[in-house]
């Protein structure tokens, strides 16, 4: 944002970006090469980096909690972990009727990991841009919210799909699963095999895609609104009248605070929804139609 203050204050605007350029720069990923809509040879290095960092923090957090566990009155850290674990355990107990020894920790990990990745959205939008500029690395593209990248969320949703298929086959047997695929919603008549299979296929695809895109849409829209609010602050040097500049900058601070507080709710809610849907899909694999 200070890049814009300098650029706008010089009034000739030789190197200050326009609003569209600013947003396009901030929405581009640090990737192997430029992105098309679908390009499987491309890797978004920033998404990979930040999801690994958040996964490491999640693992360290939970492992430290389990190491320091003590009977008696728990400390605050242990109390926090117990609170989260108990919440996840209650949800999983009511949803999944079967062996939960893998599914409940899966839900806990997914919840904390998605929560941490979503929380990267609270960092100021230009923080890493300034850090890169100060350390002399220029202005690379760098997006820090892995769940605001459809690749990130789709990866997680594909793992949930793989687990759905695994648990379906494990609980019902391969033959039982195929039988259910072709006979499930409508009935066991051979003429209904194709409609049954079509509906089941659509159900699996819709669950996976909606899981991925729900999280992506929420986080992407949130990040974009932060960027648009940051553009308000860029008006500090752009207007000729002091009143307008002050008003817009004040609006920037106010709108930024309000949106940040609302976004806390969205971050928590989306992590909770991802966890709940993972549990629901695992539970449905256990029950069958």
């Amino acid at each position: 944002m200070t890049i814009e203050i300098e650029g706008a204050a010089q009034a000739a605007a030789e190197h200050g970006p326009t609003a569209g350029e600013y947003i396009r720069h901030h929405l581009a990923h640090n990737s192997a090469h430029a992105q098309g809509i679908i390009d499987f040879s491309n890797i978004n290095y920033d998404t990979v980096l930040w999801s690994l960092v958040m996964a490491t923090i999640t693992a360290v957090f939970l492992i430290m909690g389990s190491r320091r566990m003590q009977a008696g009155v728990p400390g605050r850290f242990q109390g926090l972990i117990e609170w989260i674990a108990e919440m996840v355990e209650d949800q999983s107990k009511s949803i999944v009727h079967g062996d939960r020894s893998f599914i409940a920790p899966l839900a806990l990990t997914v919840f904390i990991w998605v929560l941490l990745m979503n929380s990267m959205d609270f960092l100021p939008v230009d923080l890493f841009a300034r850090l890169f500029a100060w350390t002399g690395h220029g202005e690379p593209h760098f997006r820090v919210v892995p769940t605001a990248d459809l690749n990130g969320t789709m990866g997680m949703a594909l793992v949930v799909l793989a687990l759905m298929l695994y648990y379906n086959v494990k609980i019902k047997g391969a033959g039982g699963f195929v039988h259910e695929l072709f006979n499930a919603p409508f009935g066991a008549h051979p003429a209904l095999w194709i409609p049954n299979f079509g509906l089941n296929l659509i159900e699996f695809v819709a669950r996976t895609v909606s899981l991925a895109m729900r999280l992506f849409g929420n986080m992407f829209a949130g990040e974009l609104i932060f960027l648009l609010i940051a553009l308000l602050g860029a008006q500090w040097g752009a207007s000729t009248s002091v009143g307008t500049s002050l008003a817009l900058s004040g609006l920037h601070i106010f709108a930024g605070s309000v949106w940040a507080v609302f976004h806390i709710l969205i971050v928590l809610l989306q992590a909770f929804i991802f966890m709940m849907l993972t549990l629901v899909y695992m539970g449905q694999a256990h029950e069958g139609h």
């Binding site: 809509i37 895109m213 729900r214 992407f220």
Partner: protein
């Protein structure tokens, strides 16, 4: 009308029509929740968790639409 005009119109329609559905859905669900809380106040807390979960699910399609509309607005694949 140019391509960018059509893209702008598309973004407006996506967000506007999506908002209609999402807001009516949340309104109906919220109304039912308040009604249920008035009838059985002891169920307020258990229902609140489920209500937030449903709110997130109802908003899903709308926010997917917002994400797509934002992508059209700033990085349009139509060459606008």
């Amino acid at each position: 009308m140019t391509t960018s005009a059509f893209v702008a119109l598309a973004c407006g329609l996506i967000i506007g029509l999506g908002a209609i559905g999402a807001c009516i859905g949340i309104g109906v669900m919220g109304g039912k929740y308040i009604e249920a809380s008035a009838r059985q106040p002891e169920l307020m807390n258990t229902l609140q968790t489920k209500m937030f979960l449903l709110a997130g699910l109802i908003d899903a399609a709308f926010l997917i639409g917002v994400g797509i509309a934002m992508m059209f607005a700033f990085a349009s694949p139509f060459g606008a």
